[in-house]
């Protein structure tokens, strides 16, 4: 898929997102409304899609192992929130001539840029020393980085410290949805480009890739910086949708959740990461509606056990499909006729 085609599809998707977003307003859309609970779920699916596809670029396509994606998300969230909390209002009022929506939109765009740049720089600082070496240094370093950044933030009072940080609600489903689409388009086109082929060759056999003339260190760092940058964007959107930041949101468990998304969906599959993000966001919620079952005198409240059941489903998936639901295939591959000898 080339840029022209992906931009065409994006425009359609963005129109759809606009329609859905309109339905989320209290008035609804043509009388149909999406209530707050479902709106929130849709927003979190979109944020998780950004997180999963960006981590998939690093772990799935380039074959590196980052386990601190939430750390970069935190960098994006807090750096941009600091900006909007301190300067957002002033910028908005100076832009008031263009109308409220446009002014707040511009503030959010600047915030996204700030989050992107800061998390990308963090990615560069973490990536260069750890990716120059062969082996699993990246895993250790990213794990450490994510914890350190969290503890540093916890101790900065100007971003709320331990009490949490109140942030303006600049983001809605429209923005989050658009950015999810943009992220998918950009990462998809990277993966399909010559550079993307170089990334996959590193995953397949780093030494051989180097022997083909691929500057493996450079490509690993580029992939890591781009992936980390998009994690930052997800952080910005999370901050400005949730309106409240706490360092608890960025604990190791969050990084792990993102890894689960790509492992379940299929590492190295674009649509797999998207599917994984949807499943991991929705499944625990859907399990809330499990019925109680009465056996004899005892009632089994399955809904209370939803996280246990969620874990069991994940384990079962991994046993049945260790390569993830899609493996390295894309959903579209299943609709194509297979050519050649198989």
């Amino acid at each position: 898929m080339n840029w022209v085609k992906s931009i065409g599809i994006s425009i359609i998707l963005i129109a759809l997102i606009y329609v859905i977003n309109s339905a989320m307003s209290s008035a609804g859309f043509f009388g149909f409304g999406i209530d707050d609970y479902y709106s929130r779920l849709l927003v979190f699916i979109a944020i998780n899609i950004i997180l999963a596809t960006s981590l998939n670029l690093i772990n799935g396509f380039t074959g590196q192992f980052s386990i601190g994606h939430a750390g970069f998300m935190a960098v994006g969230a807090y750096s941009s929130a600091y900006f909007t909390v301190n300067y957002g209002k002033a910028i908005e009022s100076s832009l008031a001539f263009g109308g409220e929506t446009i002014a707040s939109g511009i503030v959010l765009l600047i915030a996204i840029l700030i989050g992107l740049i800061f998390s990308a720089i963090a990615g560069l600082l973490v990536g260069i020393p750890s990716l120059r070496l062969k082996g699993d240094y990246l895993a250790i370093v990213t794990l450490g980085f994510a914890e350190i950044i969290r503890i540093v933030i916890l101790n900065i009072d100007s971003v709320g410290g331990a009490t949490g940080y109140q942030v303006g609600g600049y983001a809605n489903f429209f923005w989050v949805g658009i950015l999810a689409v943009i992220t998918i388009v950009i990462i998809h086109n990277i993966v399909k480009s010559d550079a993307g082929r170089a990334l996959v060759s590193i995953r397949e056999d780093e030494l051989a890739a180097e022997a083909m003339g691929v500057n493996t260190t450079r490509y690993k760092v580029i992939s890591f910086v781009i992936g980390s940058g998009f994690a930052g964007v997800a952080g910005v959107l999370f901050a400005h949708y949730n309106r409240f930041l706490s360092t608890n949101d960025f604990q190791f468990i969050k990084s792990f959740e993102i890894i689960i998304m790509i492992v379940i969906g299929g590492m190295g599959s674009m649509t797999g990461a998207i599917l994984g993000a949807i499943i991991v966001t929705l499944l625990p919620e859907m399990l809330r509606y499990l019925p109680d079952i009465q056996i004899g005198a005892t009632t089994f409240k399955f809904a209370d056990l939803r996280l246990v059941i969620f874990a069991l489903i994940l384990i079962l998936t991994m046993i049945l499909r260790p390569q993830g639901i899609l493996g390295t295939k894309e959903i579209t591959d299943f609709f194509k006729r297979k050519g050649g000898l198989r």
């Binding site: 060759s201 022997a211 083909m212």
Partner: protein, 234 residues
């Protein structure tokens, strides 16, 4: 074309190469034979820049290449078919070959070279869209060789191309080596199959625990009683 002068290489504290010197002239097929762990792969990796020598000089076409990164040496005109083949398992045969031409931009030339490779090993042509990981060992070796050729190297380095292959396939591989040399490519062939390697090369070096212990004309070495006993199993 290529010279190594007193090259020593360490893995941490382990010394893998202990001051080896060798040279390869334009148009030659030179073989490097030796037992497991002698340091053959280490030698190739040092030449291709994947390892940096602790001391000594590696010169390619008169240029000192110590410390130049492997990906840059490809552009200078050398290519390697690595030990264990190192094909990109989840990429198709064609995509593997395209990766071999990674540094080239001439679409026409790349397509021609790919056809030339397919002519050398028609089996690869039949499996053009198949994932490299699903090829047989012999086919993977063919792929690794053609992939290395896709950068149009002047020096081709082959690390144990006959390893683990059936005699008939070994024959095919050595025929291809003859064909590649007749096209003017210089070859450094690392082999444990000393018999075939000596038979298909001009000169040979014998490596033992990081040192070159014998060198000379391949035919003469093949007749040498010590070589016969230690490497030809006679």
């Amino acid at each position: 074309m290529l010279t190594l002068e007193n090259v020593s290489v360490n893995y941490g504290a382990i010394e893998a190469l202990n001051g080896i010197s060798l040279h390869i002239e334009q148009g030659e097929v030179v073989t490097l034979i030796g037992a497991n762990g002698a340091g053959k792969t280490t030698t190739l990796r040092t030449i291709t820049g994947l390892l940096e020598p602790k001391s000594g000089a590696v010169k390619f076409e008169g240029k000192l290449t110590n410390g130049i990164a492997a990906h840059k040496l490809v552009a200078l005109g050398m290519a390697m078919s690595p030990e264990g083949r190192g094909v990109f398992a989840n990429l198709s045969v064609r995509e593997n070959l395209e990766m071999g031409a990674y540094l080239r931009n001439d679409k026409k030339g790349i397509a021609d070279d790919m056809e030339r490779g397919f002519a050398m090993f028609p089996r690869l042509k039949e499996r053009e869209q198949q994932k490299a990981g699903t090829l047989s060992g012999g086919e993977q070796q063919m792929l690794a060789m053609v992939r290395a050729l896709m950068s149009r190297p002047r020096l081709l380095l082959l690390d144990e191309p006959s390893l683990g292959l059936a005699p008939l396939v070994v024959h095919t591989i050595f025929e291809a080596i003859e064909e590649i040399r007749s096209n003017g490519t210089t070859i450094l062939l690392v082999e444990q199959n000393a018999n075939a390697a000596l038979h298909h090369s001009d000169r040979a070096y014998v490596l033992e625990t990081g040192r070159i212990v014998m060198e000379g004309n391949s035919k003469e070495l093949a007749a040498n009683p010590k070589v016969k006993e230690a490497y030809l199993g006679e």
